[in-house]
């Protein structure tokens, strides 16, 4: 079991020197990302239409606040970069990937594929919502059980397939009925 997080006195308001748990290389990569985003926002804000043709007050140009936000993002991104550099981001070798991490990455990709497949491909393109949802829920249950660490859970039995199918149909139909018929919410 995981350990409980330390109480606030040891963590929050006074700890202002950063999250020491994240590897410096990761923070350095983040810093580059924030800097790039800040620069992009600033450029887009400066080049944004100032609506001079409408004779608006020059202090109300649409790009004013986004530009300031871009500058602030660049500044904070820069500080994050300097902090990670001071912590040895450039001198430390990258940490080796463990077997657990590899498994976790594989699971992340699978879950993203399942969710994106449902949200982008299955729904909203002619397939009835309940059917699309049944395919997603049942399919996800089967896939997640197949990649489980528990060998018993991994076994593809008829009972397991039936169970996944029944749960998929029941959850989709009940959800559609409750949302659409009882609470009058439109379904995708």
């Amino acid at each position: 079991m995981s350990e409980a997080p330390p109480p606030v006195a040891e963590t929050a308001p006074h700890q202002v020197h950063g999250d020491e748990r994240m590897p410096p290389r990761s923070d350095m990569a983040d810093a580059i990302g924030w800097l790039a985003l800040g620069i992009a926002i600033l450029i887009a804000s400066v080049s944004m239409d100032r609506l001079e043709s409408q004779h608006i007050n020059p202090y109300t140009v649409p790009g004013l606040l986004p530009g300031l936000l871009g500058i602030a993002m660049m500044l904070l991104g820069g500080v994050l970069g300097v902090r990670s550099w001071e912590r040895g981001a450039l001198s430390q070798p990258p940490m080796p990937v463990t077997a657990d991490q590899r498994e976790e990455r594989r699971r992340i990709l699978i879950v993203i594929a399942l969710c994106a497949g449902y949200g982008v491909v299955l729904i909203g393109h002619g397939i009835p919502f309940w059917l699309a949802s049944t395919i997603f829920v049942s399919g996800s249950i089967i896939v997640m059980q197949r990649i489980s660490r528990d060998p018993q859970e991994r076994q593809l039995t008829l009972r397991m397939l039936l169970k996944a199918g029944v749960i998929g149909v029941a959850s989709s139909v009940i959800t559609q009925l409750v949302f659409q018929e009882v609470f009058l919410v439109r379904m995708p």
Partner: protein, 511 residues
Amino acid sequence: MLQGLSELGHAYLSFLNPLTLLYGLGGAFVGIVMGILPGLSATLAIALLTTLTIKLGTNDAILVLICSYVGALYGGSRTAILLNIPGTAANAASCADGYALAKQGQAGRAIGIATSGAFVSTLFGVICLAAFTPLLAEVALKFGAFEFFWLALFGVTMSGTIVGQDPLKGWLMGLLGLFVAQIGQEGLYAYNRFTFGWDELAGGIALIPALVGAFGLAEVLTTLSDPVERKMIELRDSVLPRFREVAQYWRTVLRSGVIGVTTGLLPGVGEDAGAWMSYAAAKAMSKEKEKFGKGSIDGLMAAETGDMSSIPGHIIPCLALGIPGSAPSAVLMAAMIIHGVQPGPMLMIQHPQFIYDVVAMTTLASITILLFGLFGVRPLLHILKVRRAILMPIVFLLCTIGAFATASRLFDVYAMIAIGIIAFFLRKRGYEMAPLVLGLVLGPLLDKSLRRGLVLSDGSLLPFFTRPIALAFALVTIFTVLLYVPPFKRGVNRVKDAIFGGVRAMLARRA
């Protein structure tokens, strides 16, 4: 005063009908279930229920949402006690002592203490809500563009500083939220910002799909990506509420209640801050410090009362200033706007009865959790036995409907998925979501206030620093950020040490 009491009485009476009570119980039920499920937060519960209740009347819908808010935090402590995983972030402080009690075979007792503490502290918060919201709303009527500009910045800065362990990442998330809020048509000239000619983006990134992604899909990914599935401890003893222990630890309950409400008043700080600060204060004041973390009743009571009393605390600035105190209250505020009630200083003028209605709703919410505590804990806990492979796809199905239903746009589903995936990776890299949410909510206010303020002052920045309330917010905001600069922090520490050293020396001399 008398008018306020009469409106409050009217509000309580208006909720005394079977259908309203059923709505309240339904909201609390969904909230408790979401709270019990590890990672599914009060924010997600409220966001999903906002779509479900969109066709209900304003008061019924907000009642369901408030009951689910209170229910989610209440339900979350059960998971903290039985699994050592906080059901919601706010229940993290309950893990240490709650789980220790469960391991000693006293899980039921711990749950009973959590129930009684939650009930009493929510009621304490309700009293503060009724007393302080009209007062704060009156003060807020003096706020202009300059004050709101700093208040919005203050909220994002405080949220970034206190939530999580790295203020720098918190502020960056706040900035990201503020930026995302600028996407779409701006409020003054209806000019499309950052839409790149994409019509779907002209309406901006809607709050509900964004939050469903950040708190729903991101959690589905977090739960399913973990190769290990956790098992709960079996319940053997009674889970009935323990009011004797509330009486025994009345000092802790009162202290944590005050701390919870006070932290609730700070914008964007979240319920977990109330819990942790109450826990730290209880530990500091306790005669049995060594028991903290090993099954201390005092510690569990402090954590539970701290987070629950912060709920009404968070609703106070939400109603009076239009500045949410936490991520769930931000969604609650969005739901109020969807239902035609604009929270903020004008609320007392436009809908004076509504504040008292919210007080009555929160009272009803605390009663519903007591009812569930008395009769419904054991059956509801069976949900923890459902495998995540079964539960999480259903949760994502609900997220999809939740994202779609508010505006019936597929684009919102795509936005939810994109934001959920980004939020998941950001969370893994140590970035918290609460400042992002606050940025999203306060972005339009910050933009409007800055530009209006500059027009009023004809381009001068002076009024942003010379008006007393604006100056106070500006000083706290700038000071908080400067504390991150090492030379400034060293200087502050030197001044602090000199002052405390001087006081200590003076006291020693007198003694």
